[in-house]
Point group: C2
Chain length 274, copies 2
């Protein structure tokens, strides 16, 4: 999916919500455990209920890998289900990969060729040749970690170098030597508040993937105030607050209601630019 | 496996070689393609031929994931095969994971509980709470990226901060607030030469996992000269130079011969400390 198509979806649905599919066998409703593939059954119901209110899905690879081979089957089925039934949805493989060139090439092959997913999250620590193998696919995106939502983001990402540049700023600037706002986005945590102003000085037009609204405590208003561009420029993710909003047989319905609430808040935020 | 057991294996075998199982369906001998599981068939033959000469195996997850579900099956079978037949071998899941706490917890569950692997490589960009979930398992190890073997290592890892500390040095120092040399090792590329001296100033006793000898051009002599400790303190990995040394039906035999050559060079290097 290219940038223009993504912007069109946001305008059409008045939403920039991404639903995070952090599906944990220990957290899904009990009655699903009798299903042949409980993880996929859960995802399918969540997707059907939330699709009208979101523009993206983000399966988190860790949750599928923790189930071994079975988990990979659930992951692949989930991706296929979205692609077949909701082809307008942007899919993010939240994998945080990144390795030497020939290895990153293999990861790119997995996510972009084998699974035909729109985007993959990548960690920047290993530098240019760990990222560029992901950039050679037309219509596919790297979503590079810049300033993450967790407490540990302070450990290294905020370190200031001798030029007065913080590490996350260097990541934003340097990576623009390899990529542009048509094939790269950045992860910026919703918990970072006014830091979005600093991000926008360096990446005024890039889309930002923003986790941390919901369970992690970030504020949608603040993210929009400091981070929104004339094209929106934001994909805001919520995982736990939506998918685990209810544990009864009504779980999917309630997830849909929660997604709708977030979508309505987003429509309000979008009213100034649409 | 704890540190003392690892040191004992190194002394016993006069080797600190790790064989990297970067098994690529496009590179394995053609006659294996008729096998029901060509990746596992290749690994099994390579393991049987090289086990006398190495103390560790490092399957690179990217190569298995690129095959989807089939790849995960091959990966799990490989790990089981090593654990059953060569329980003295140290297993490294080269995955370069790292995410917010609850996600890293899931990765730790996968590698340490489900698969009972000894260690996993982790990227430090997201800081403390992305690493600590891996540290709660007795006898298991985090192998944290410090100074990698690739060209892109210069992009961020060598950035000097206002305190005069380079990023990889900060990673080495900071991470010792969370872990010690009994549950953490560091990745340092063999291509980094004299930089091992700087590493040893901050991490004098930690084991280092050293990729980049062989296909990537690093020198074993230099690594040992600047990086070896009284307990060896090194696990040197070679992947392509060993496993793809020959493409005929003799591939495993030749891989064994190559591993033996490296082991003999290692025995020489170890003679000063054993």
């Amino acid at each position: 999916m290219n940038k223009q198509q993504l912007i069109e979806q946001i305008k059409l649905k008045k939403s920039f919500l991404c639903v995070g599919l952090d599906t944990d066998i220990k957290k899904i409703p009990e009655h699903l455990l009798n299903d042949e593939d409980p993880i996929f059954a859960f995802n399918k119901a969540i997707i059907d209920a939330t699709a009208p209110y979101c523009i993206a899905y983000k399966p988190n690879l860790a949750f599928y890998e923790s189930m071994g081979v079975k988990g990979w089957i659930s992951f692949e089925k989930t991706v296929e289900y979205i692609k077949k039934n909701y082809p307008e949805q942007f899919i993010i493989a939240d994998a945080k990969r990144g390795d030497i060139g020939n290895t990153s090439q293999m990861y790119a092959r997995t996510f972009f060729e084998e699974l035909d997913i729109d985007s993959v999250t990548v960690a920047p620590y290993m530098g240019e040749d760990s990222v560029t193998p992901f950039l050679t696919y037309e219509g596919k995106w790297v979503i590079l970690l810049a300033l993450t939502s967790n407490k540990g983001s302070h450990d290294f990402q905020l370190t200031t170098d001798t030029e007065g540049e913080r590490l996350f700023e260097k990541v934003l600037r340097k990576s623009q030597e390899w990529a542009n706002d048509e094939n790269m986005m950045y992860v910026v945590g919703a918990t970072q508040g006014r830091m979005f102003e600093d991000i926008r000085k360096i990446a005024p037009n890039h889309f930002l993937l923003v986790p941390g609204v919901g369970a992690q405590g970030g504020s949608l208003e603040e993210v929009c105030k400091y981070g929104m561009t004339k094209d929106c420029g934001l994909i805001v993710n919520s995982s736990r607050a939506i998918i685990y909003a209810d544990k009864s047989e009504r779980f999917a319905e309630v997830a849909g209601e929660e997604a709708k609430k977030v979508q309505e808040q987003m429509a309000e935020q979008l009213s100034s630019i649409l």
